[in-house]
Amino acid sequence: MSMEIAIPQPVERENYLNKEYGVWSWLLTTDHKRIALLYLISITFFFFIGGFFALLIRLELLTPAGDLVQADTYNKLFSMHGIVMIFFFLVPSIPAVLGNFLVPLMIGAKDLAFPRINLLSWYLYIIGGAMMVHCMLTGGVDTGWTFYAPFSTNFSNTKVVEAALAVFVAGFSSILTGLNFVVTIHRMRAPGLTWSRLPLFIWAHYATSIIQLLGTPVLAITLTLVAAERALHLGIFDPKLGGDPVLFQHLFWFYSHPAVYIMILPAMGVISEIIACFSRKRIFGYSFVAFSSIAIAVFGFLVWAHHMFVAGTSVYAALVFSLLSYAVAVPSAIKVFNWTATLYKGSIHYDAPMLYAFGFLGLFTIGGLTGLFLAALGIDVHVTDTYFVVAHFHYIMVGGAVMGYLGGMHFWWPKISGRLYPEGWARLAALIVFVGFNLTFFPQFLLGYLGMPRRYYDYSHMPEFQVLNVLSTAGATVLGVGYLLPMVYFLWSMRYGKPASDNPWNAAGLEWKTASPPPTFNFDEEPVVTWEAYNYEELDAPHKEEVPVAR
C-alpha cells in the first residue's frame, strides 16, 4: 500500500469534469458545460429512438406490400420519427449541446447569463421527453409530426394530447435556451469583443435564438388549442362548427417553417468556424455571412404558407409566399458562395471536421436548390406530399443540420473531453455518412418525382418503385453504421484517446485560448480581445504575438 502511495501521480489540472464527482454534481449543476453534456446524452438517446423508427419505416418500404407493419403502426412510426427527431433531437441538437458549451467560451464569459434557467431548460426538456416516451410506450400518436387538424382534433384515436403537451413542454425548454443566448450575447461579451469581432457561430446562434423566441410560443399556443379542441370540441379548427382547419396550418407553419432555420442556422455557424480553420483563412465576406444569418431569420418568418399551396390558400397569397420563399435563397446562397470563396487559395486540411463541412456544402446546396423547386407554385403542386419533399427536407435537416452537428462535435471534441478522437476512424465515418446519406435520400428525389406519395406503407400497386426503395433502405443501413461509429470512438476516446492540447487545431477563437477541458469558470483570467475574428493569417505568421490578457 505505502509503496503505491509513494509513486508520484501526474497532477491533473482541475477542470469542469473533474472538479466534482457524483450524480448530484451533475443533476444540480449550473455550469453551462456540464449542462451541455447532459443535453448531449439526452439528445443522443432520442436520436437513436428516432433512428430506430426510421429503420422500421425503411424496412417496411423494402417490399411493395405492407408486410412488416400495418397501416396504423406505420402511421405511428413516421409520426413518432418526425416528432422525436425534430423536437427532441434537431431543434436542441447544436444550440443546446455545442451552443451551450461554446457560447460563453467564445465570448469570454464565465457562464450564460442565467445558469439556473439553463438547468431549468434541461429539466423541461427531460420532462417533455419523458412524456413523449410515455406516449410512445402506451400507444403512440399517428397524426404525423404536423398534428394537422381536424384529423388530430376530431378523428385520431391515438395519444394526441399527450404528444402535443410533450412538444409544448420541450418548446419552453427551447425558448429558455434562446432567451439565455440572446441576453448572454448582448450583455456578457468580454472587453474588446465587439459585434464585428464575434465568431460567426455566435451570429448564427443569435439569429437562431430570435426564431426560437418569436416562433416557439406560437407553436405552444397552437398545440394548446389542439388539446382544448380535442378535449372539448370547441370548434376553432372544426369546419363543421364554423372553424377553419387552415388556420391551424397557418399557426403551425408560422413556427414550423422558421423551425427549419432553428435547425440549419446553427449548423451554418459550425461550418463557418470549421471552414475558416481548415482553410487557414479569415472567412470571406464576414459581415455578409453574419447578416445573412439575421436575414434568414427574418425572411424565415415570412414564407410559412409555402407549405400550404394546395390547402386552398388564395392564388395571390401563394404568389407572394412563393416569391418570398425564393428570397430566402439569397442569404443562403450568400453563405455558400462566401464559404467557397474562403476555400479559394486557402491551405486546406482534410481533417474529419472539414470532411463533414464539405459534406454539408454539397448536401445543403442540393437541399437548398430543390427547395427552390418547391417554392415554385407549379412544381410544388406536382410534388406536394411526395417523396420529393421528404428527400428535400432530409437534405436540409440531415444532410445539413446533422452533418453540421457531427462536424462540430468532432471539431470541439478535444475541447469538450480533453481527448483526441481517432482521426482515421473519424474520416472513415464522415465518408460512410456522406455515402450512406446520398444512397438513402437521392433515390427519394426520383421516387417523389415519379409520383410516390409520402406516408404510404404499401405501394404494391406500383411495384416499379421497389428498386429505388431498396437502394434507399440499403443507404439507411450504411447511414446507421456511419452514425454509430462516432458514438463508439467518442466514448472510446474519453478513456483511451490521446490528451488534447489547449488548441489542437491551432484555431482562432477564445474557446481555444483556455485549457482543454476548460476550468469551471472557463478562463483563469478575464480575456481582453484585441484581434479580429478568424485572424488565421496572424496565427500562422512566424512571429505570433502573445495573447493579451488583463494583467
Binding site: K110, D111, L112, A113, L179, L214, P217, L225, G242, A550
Partner: protein, 236 residues
C-alpha cells in the same frame, strides 16, 4: 502590471452579496436581468399573438355572432376589472420607486396592495366564469346559445357554433391571462418575503423592477382583452 486586475479584485472584495459569480459587476447583472425579462415578454407577446390572430379572423368572419355573444358577458365586471388592474399598475410603480429610494414600509405596503388588487381581479373573474357556467355558455357538451339576437339585425339570431368559437376564445384568452395573474401573484409573494427580510436596497432591487415589468405586461394584455371581448358592437 496594468491596473485592470487590481481594479477587478478591488471590485470583487466590495461586491454586493447578491452579485452572482459570473457577472463582472452589479450593472451587468442588472442589465442582463432586465433584458432577460424584456425578451421573455417578447415571447409572451407571440404566445398571446397566436390567439389574437385567431380571434381577429373569426371576429371578421362571424361579426354578428361575436357581437351577440359578447353582449351576454357582463361589461360591468370587465370594466371594474380594468380599473382594478390599472390601479395595481400604479401600486407596482410605487413599489419600484419605494425600492429605489429605500422606503421599506411603502415597498411592503405597495406589494400587498398590488396583490390584493390581483386577488380582487381573480375573484371578479371567478364570479364571471360562474355566471357563464350557469348560463351554459362554457364551450363543450352542455353549451347552449339558442335564440340570441344579433345586435342591429332584427329577427336574426346568432349561430350557436360560431358563438361557441367566441366563448372558446374568451375562455382560453382570459384563462391564460388569469394563469399569468396567478403566476404574477406568486412572484409578488416572493418579492414580499424578500422585501420583508429587507433584501432590497437602492443598489439591489432588480427583482422588484423585473417583477413589475411582468405585472405591467399582464395588465396590458387585459387592456387589449377588455375591448376585444367585452365591447363588440355595443351601443348605449
Amino acid at each position: 502590471m496594468p491596473d485592470s486586475t487590481v481594479v477587478g479584485l478591488h471590485h470583487e472584495e466590495h461586491q454586493h452579496p447578491e452579485l452572482l459569480h459570473h457577472f463582472a459587476d452589479a450593472q451587468q447583472q442588472r442589465d442582463a436581468s432586465s433584458l432577460g425579462m424584456w425578451v421573455f415578454l417578447a415571447t409572451e407577446v407571440m404566445f398571446f399573438g397566436g390567439l389574437f390572430c385567431a380571434y381577429l379572423i373569426y371576429r371578421r368572419w362571424y361579426f354578428g355572432d361575436f357581437a351577440a355573444a359578447s353582449k351576454t358577458i357582463n361589461m360591468g365586471y370587465g370594466a371594474t376589472n380594468t380599473a382594478v388592474l390599472i390601479c395595481s399598475s400604479l401600486t407596482v410603480v410605487l413599489a419600484v420607486w419605494a425600492a429605489q429610494t429605500a422606503r421599506r414600509t411603502l415597498l411592503i405596503g405597495s406589494l400587498i396592495v398590488t396583490m390584493l388588487l390581483g386577488v380582487t381581479f381573480l375573484g371578479i373573474k371567478g364570479i364571471e366564469y360562474r355566471e357563464k357556467f350557469v348560463e351554459h355558455h362554457v364551450p363543450g357538451a352542455s353549451f347552449s346559445f339558442e335564440n340570441e339576437p344579433i345586435p342591429g339585425r332584427p329577427g336574426q339570431y346568432a349561430n350557436p357554433s360560431h358563438a361557441q368559437i367566441f366563448f372558446s376564445l374568451y375562455f382560453v384568452m382570459t384563462g391564460l391571462h388569469a394563469l399569468h395573474m396567478i403566476i404574477g401573484l406568486g412572484i409578488f409573494l416572493w418579492l414580499l418575503t424578500m422585501a420583508w427580510k429587507g433584501r432590497f436596497t437602492p443598489e439591489y432591487h432588480t427583482p422588484v423592477e423585473i417583477g413589475g415589468l411582468y405585472w405591467h405586461f399582464v395588465d396590458i394584455v387585459w387592456i387589449y382583452l377588455f375591448p376585444l371581448l367585452y365591447l363588440i358592437d355595443r351601443h348605449p
